[in-house]
Symmetry: C2
Subunit: 397 residues, 2 copies
């Protein structure tokens, strides 16, 4: 693995797509601040302020570190800055002086910071550009898809390594430590990012048996008990027993891109009920993959899964136990974990070529969580797997 710098052609394409949106929305330009957006449009996350005009070259103003930002970003106009107060003056030097309507990502920008920008641009109307950015970012280029494949290859290797260290009687947290180290030593950068407010990032779920059924604040089918009330999810102090489902669901961030994958392990044997549920999850995944194609509305995978689970009698366990369910079966993945498309009830936006997403049919029973999760890219020919570990339960003697 090596550090990959974003090619100039990628940045140019992304900028052009943003400028098209700016023009459509009659905006003079956009100020980009959030790290994930900053990286997408510049290739760097050095502490910076990016101005993308509706037409013309963007200006990247770097506070710290300028030398590193210049080495990382292929943008033409990169200048030093000490405070955002200098932005209007710097932009004037690039002949950008009209700021009637400016886009900012108001889904993430804190109020106090917004007020600061309103003071710097007293006559400007700031408009929320985040829906446009999310839409642009949801369509991945072939370059981005390759980065995501790298992330999946790292999580693949970690999942394949589990039988070498999973032992009866070890604590979930010990297994988590070993699993995370497998990803980390291969280039996992650390916690994945979520865009939604207050969605604290965490490392992943390493759960055994009944831990899979712990009720959770997390907007996912499975939560776990965690090792602290402040981080009430993921691996706990529970010991892993024979004949329990060991559920390992992790994101893996490599080159900034977030793969997401779940595999099931067991020391000994699972109950027939759990085996049957696992097979149902694999079947649902296969049916969804057969059914969806470019243009399929985002809610269809969920609705199809719902229909199938009801037919199979799994209504109470699908995507959470009883009343503690989530109403989606997948989500977009990229620089953040909660990207478009969200494969949820009520969302009719089409799944388009270039969209990358995780699909996670899962069941939760009092005896544990079971199911599968894989990452995909939608191509012109339909969805394509981004990983290669076998979609099976791995038994350890």
């Amino acid at each position: 693995m090596e550090i990959k710098l974003t090619p100039k052609s990628e940045i140019e394409l992304r900028t052009a797509r943003l400028q098209e949106k700016l023009t459509q929305q009659a905006l003079d330009g956009a100020i980009i601040l959030l790290n994930s957006d900053m990286f997408y449009f510049t290739g760097t996350v050095q502490t910076s302020y990016l101005y993308v005009p509706a037409s013309g070259e963007p200006v990247l103003m770097i506070k710290k570190s300028l030398s590193r930002g210049k080495a990382e970003s292929p943008l033409k106009n990169i200048v030093p800055i000490k405070s955002p107060k200098e932005i209007p003056g710097i932009l004037a030097e690039f002949t950008y002086t009209s700021f009637n309507r400016i886009g900012m990502a108001l889904d993430v920008l804190p109020v106090n910071l917004f007020n600061r920008y309103q003071k710097i641009f007293p006559n400007t109307q700031f408009c929320d550009i985040s829906p446009a950015i999310k839409e642009i970012r949801s369509i991945k280029s072939p370059y981005e898809v390759e980065l995501l494949r790298d992330a999946l290859s790292v999580i693949d290797k970690a999942h394949l390594a589990v039988p070498s260290f999973l032992r009866e009687g070890m604590m979930e947290i010990e297994l988590a430590a070993l699993f995370e180290a497998e990803m980390r030593k291969r280039g996992y950068s650390g916690c994945c990012k979520m865009r939604a407010f207050n969605q604290d990032l965490f490392l992943g779920n390493t759960l055994s048996g009944s831990s899979g059924c712990a009720p959770s604040f997390f907007d996912g089918p499975v939560g776990g008990n965690g090792v602290a009330v402040t981080h009430p999810h993921g691996a706990s102090w529970k010991k892993i027993n024979r004949n329990e489902a060991v559920y390992i669901d992790y994101t893996c961030v490599v080159h900034g891109y977030t793969g997401d994958q779940t595999r099931i392990f067991c020391i000994g044997e699972l109950t027939p009920q759990m085996v049957k549920a696992f097979e149902a999850a694999v079947f649902i995944e296969a049916e969804i993959i057969k059914a969806i194609k470019p243009g399929t509305p985002a809610e269809e995978p969920y609705l199809l899964a719902l229909k199938l689970t009801e037919e199979m009698g799994y209504k109470d366990s699908f995507m959470g136990y009883q009343d503690d369910k989530v109403k989606f079966i997948g989500h977009g993945i990229g620089l953040e974990l909660d990207e478009f498309p969200i494969l949820a009830k009520g969302l009719k936006t089409p799944i388009l070529p270039g969209m990358t997403f995780a699909l996670e049919p899962k069941f939760v029973f009092p005896e544990g969580a079971i199911g599968t999760e894989n990452s995909f890219v939608m191509t012109e020919k339909g969805p394509e797997f981004l990983s290669s570990t076998p979609n099976v339960i791995t038994y350890i003697k």
Copy 2:
């Protein structure tokens, strides 16, 4: 280690301190949303909305998971909620109907979410309550200090374990994986939290030799190269050589509280220059510890260190290399890594008993980063170490 639930007496004390501030600021109450604030005032981070009236019992409205939130929080009034739209109706049931001025943490609340609350409370003036919350949270109770000691004991054990796995020729990222696993298996919850916008959390710094001098966006003296442009800090793919300073600076979050500690290792021998700089850092720490007492202005440790480093001829290397310096020598630690007090130039707020902070005199040279970092609590008698690993360079043959 076990999961610790916040005692009722802690929550009552914290609530009383917030209510005092609300009364002082003529606020009817505060709506608390951010996880770290939520945990502080309720004992849970289940997806919730907390209302703290200027007087009377707080109301915790839980969306997911109610059962878990009830088990975790000692608050009296805990009710279910589906959407924040229901907040005024629920509060009316508790006879809270006056919302002229309400406090919210506007330093973290995104604009779109703020607008949503403004619609729910159309006649309310929302005021920033974050300075008051930060001030309250900066004074730790003896209970909180004990939790922090647990965090430091975990990072102590990880630092002490390093000689058992640090080997010449291993990559920084491999060392990071092993170090993190040592913390993780003992109850480290995962990435620490920072309150400031865009301060992406990361796992820590495991740097060797020249990596310690990489310029960085991070608001700290030492950055590192990282394994991805999106996460441009921390361990890299560089191999660790003999006679290099191996710099391991990590936060460790246990029970939600963030310990912070740096130790230096070396396979072989360090140059006399590096050894001397290390001794200077330890000397500076000792001088600061002697000099500060309850009431000392927050900038004094930094100014004292600056004076000492100038006298010792380390001006160019202190807290960063040449132009890439930070202007502080320590920071508050607690539920977040960037708490009060900030031991920085220009900050005159007093360091009070109960304040917990990391002190990190460090030097950066082209050949590497070196220094020390320990976590402290200010007591009536002066600062007290929270950890116990020896403040020395650990040599490995």
